[in-house]
Symmetry: C2
DNA sequence: AATCGTCAGTGACGGATCGTCAAAAAACCT
DNA sequence: AGGTTTTTTGACGATCCGTCACTGACGATT
């Protein structure tokens, strides 16, 4: 009656292997350069087997996207362990978001593509559900942070705004700034490197000041906070992302 | 020596015709559904002729994007004629942006795709230059608005921020909020219609309050402003975008 | 008027890609 | 060992991109 039931763990491992290879290809050839045939060539399975895991190329892309969201959730958790005010910890989360975007620009942009009709329509139910669940895992901690800020009296909810809206508006701001900058390397006259980072934090600080999330930016030096976040929470990642001074211990100048 | 010289105006007209057909296809089949063969089928020219105008499918996409930016620039100009404070007029520009996104979601998303390497690498020099020039035509008026606000004393430049950064951060905020919402119809639990609009304006108002652009949102009812903008400047477009109450004169209830 | 030279236009074709499916191989059961 | 069910395979049809050898239209020249 049941000749062989495929080991579920083995299946998941293979799925991860496929996602990893897909990501490798995308890092060199871009999203448009990802081809099922290329994946087949790099992997000991045939095309048919791959299509047993992913219903289409788009389904595979959503898989890569979900994998990225998963590591991002991990970064968010770490960010929230920062020792500081709620506003500083929110900044830490945004810094994590920025790091992720710098280290994995392809995956970062994938999040918006995944919401496109042409992608989501061709994505399997299962993976779509996984996607929503991951969104929750990203939003959840930030909602809790807002709660905490409210009970701490560091934030009072602006008129007719919900906690969800607070989180959304912060996310949207970071996303927009990063998305517009990340694909403008050396195009619009001279913004690069540190400018990138400061745009994101200018935006975040203006927004947080606007909603009166204390301490306001004139009451506290948030540039210092960002440096502390980079050094204490994300030294490795900051170094990789092009801020070598934050890496553990470089030969001092 | 010169058997036949192609009329330049005729060429431009044909190019526009091709862009229009491409846009029509994209409206029904999505960006991914745009195919050169489909364009050929709808047009009295052969594939070779089309490739005389556009070096690749991506070049055509950039052409469609540029056309969208051109009408957006027109909307911006109209928005700036609103009779009100500088901050109200900036809101009008953002409202124009929102309208454009609602009416032409495909073209709206194209702006970010156009910055992707896979697209810009395959776009002709000519059209790339046109693209940058259009960016200028969008940014220019907003820079002038910031200038005006500064001389009016309605805005003082925050520490270490340039006028360009002010404009960028506003643009990024609107872009992020719209981009995240526009592809979430009925997915994330219940946001729709008016919620869409209010998210964008919550974000803009928080940001503008944060940079102390007067009058602040507690000093003035900006919901009223938005309604005035919709009625006085964009009645037709607002109606099309799903706010029928703003259309010129409906049979009153 | 006949001929020639130039250039826009054409569409069949090569190469690449997606996703399928009939058949082969492998695993399991008795 | 033989039979049954699951899994894998890769050749194949369909689609799409972009090219290029060819066609034909038009003006210039004789």
């Amino acid at each position: 009656m049941s000749p062989r039931i495929l080991d579920n763990n083995q299946l998941l491992a293979r799925e991860q292997e496929l996602i990893d290879t897909a990501l490798q290809i995308m890092e060199t050839d871009g999203t448009a350069g990802l081809t099922m045939d290329k994946v087949v060539a790099r992997v000991p399975y045939s095309k048919g087997t791959i299509y047993n895991h992913f219903t289409s190329r788009e389904d595979l892309l959503t898989g890569v996207c979900n994998a990225g969201m998963s590591v991002l959730a991990e970064l968010f958790s770490r960010a929230l362990t920062f020792n500081g005010t709620t506003r500083e910890r929110l900044l830490a989360v945004q810094y994590a978001y920025l790091l992720h975007a710098l280290l994995q620009p392809t995956q970062f942009m994938l999040v918006i593509s995944a919401k496109t009709a042409s992608l989501s329509e061709r994505t399997s139910e299962r993976r779509q559900a996984e996607h929503y669940q991951l969104e929750g895992r990203l939003m959840g901690p930030m909602l809790k942070l807002v709660d905490e800020a409210i009970t701490n009296r560091e934030l009072v909810l602006p008129k007719q705004m919900t906690k969800q809206q607070i989180v959304f508006t912060n996310w949207a701001g970071s996303f927009g700034a990063i998305a517009l900058l990340i694909n403008s390397e050396g195009k619009c006259s001279g913004r690069q490197g540190l400018a990138f980072q400061s745009e994101i934090f200018n935006h975040a600080n203006l927004l947080l000041d606007g909603m009166q999330w204390h301490p306001l930016s004139h009451e506290m030096d948030y540039y210092k906070s960002v440096e502390r976040i980079a050094q204490e929470i994300f030294p490795e990642e900051s170094a990789q992302a092009g801020n070598p001074q934050y890496s553990q211990r470089m030969k001092a100048n």
